[in-house]
Assembly symmetry: C2
Homo-oligomer: 217 residues x 2
Amino acid sequence: MTPQAPTRAYRRLTVEERRSQLLRAALSLFAHRAPEDVSLDDVAEAAGVSRPLVYRYFPGGKQQLYEAALRSAADDLRHCFDEPREGPLLPRLARALDRYLAFVDEHDAGFSALLQGGSVVETSRTSAIVDGVRRAAAEHILSHLGVDRPGPRLRMTVRMWITAVEAASLIWLDEGKQPPAEELRDWLVEQFVAVLTVTARRDAQTEAIVRRVAEQG
Amino acid sequence: MTPQAPTRAYRRLTVEERRSQLLRAALSLFAHRAPEDVSLDDVAEAAGVSRPLVYRYFPGGKQQLYEAALRSAADDLRHCFDEPREGPLLPRLARALDRYLAFVDEHDAGFSALLQGGSVVETSRTSAIVDGVRRAAAEHILSHLGVDRPGPRLRMTVRMWITAVEAASLIWLDEGKQPPAEELRDWLVEQFVAVLTVTARRDAQTEAIVRRVAEQG
């Protein structure tokens, strides 16, 4: 309607914007290819920029690009866990899982590649990034459960459930995203309650939580 | 009593015996050090043999040694799952878990190192060995459950539980093997029943299994 409207398509991006653009391009490539098969040249092509530009941002090459992409994905994942400490516990967990599954859905095969590490590019640094996300997830859940000093049985239960959720999302991607995300989310929430209930039989702290959840209906 | 009795201490080992001896020595080293920190020289020293001998058995160096040790541990792990198809289901699962936890206990930190891979030595081949053990565990369980064609929900539930068991054993090692193995075993069996019960609400095949388990008391 207004062909003369000023276009911003060619304005210079800031360093941060450019970096995000390149990481987004890299993440979209990881969604279809193993990390070690994604070269800086591929990223340049996908982002529609020159090769020297990509090399300037990632002088450390493939490994640096992969780590930066992993860090950026890890940050996004952590945001999935942001949930106000208000209202009944299970709907909070369900909302966080909705965001998590949307993330998995969006990044698709790239999610598997990022979380499992590639055969060439996995290092203790990348494992530490992934473990950091797992730890953050556990801390979020324990804090929502409102326990100051979680005992070993409760902590172990939460960490086992998180690993099971991770396994579920990888299987879910493998199986063409079946069952639908909403069903998977409800199923995972119910499993959480079920394993907590088992732990409650041998742990008073967990028992108090299960009672509270039951009262919230 | 009979100092003249013929001693076999110095008889020549067969190739297979020697190989097992070296792998046992390597596995005992992995129990206390990361795979990439175990050299062939260390193995020679631990086994009390000459360096050239170790190099003859593992000309591919560290990586070959690690893979051979992983394969040998994977074979041992698979044996944990051998359980006659007789009697009620849960005691069968409990016995397999007893053997599995004894394996984890024996190999200790080496179990973590082997299953998680080292930062240097992990390759797609080693991941495939570990995944093979997970798959074997899932197949064993499904076959004990007596289902010919397990549906996706049942399969996902079993695979999630296996991942959770793996996580539990790593945490268990981290936490000085607490709770005691027998308690952990019972807890894991109860979790298995609990997650199956959740799945049974949305899957007729799983519901039939849960009913059968309940009838067996």
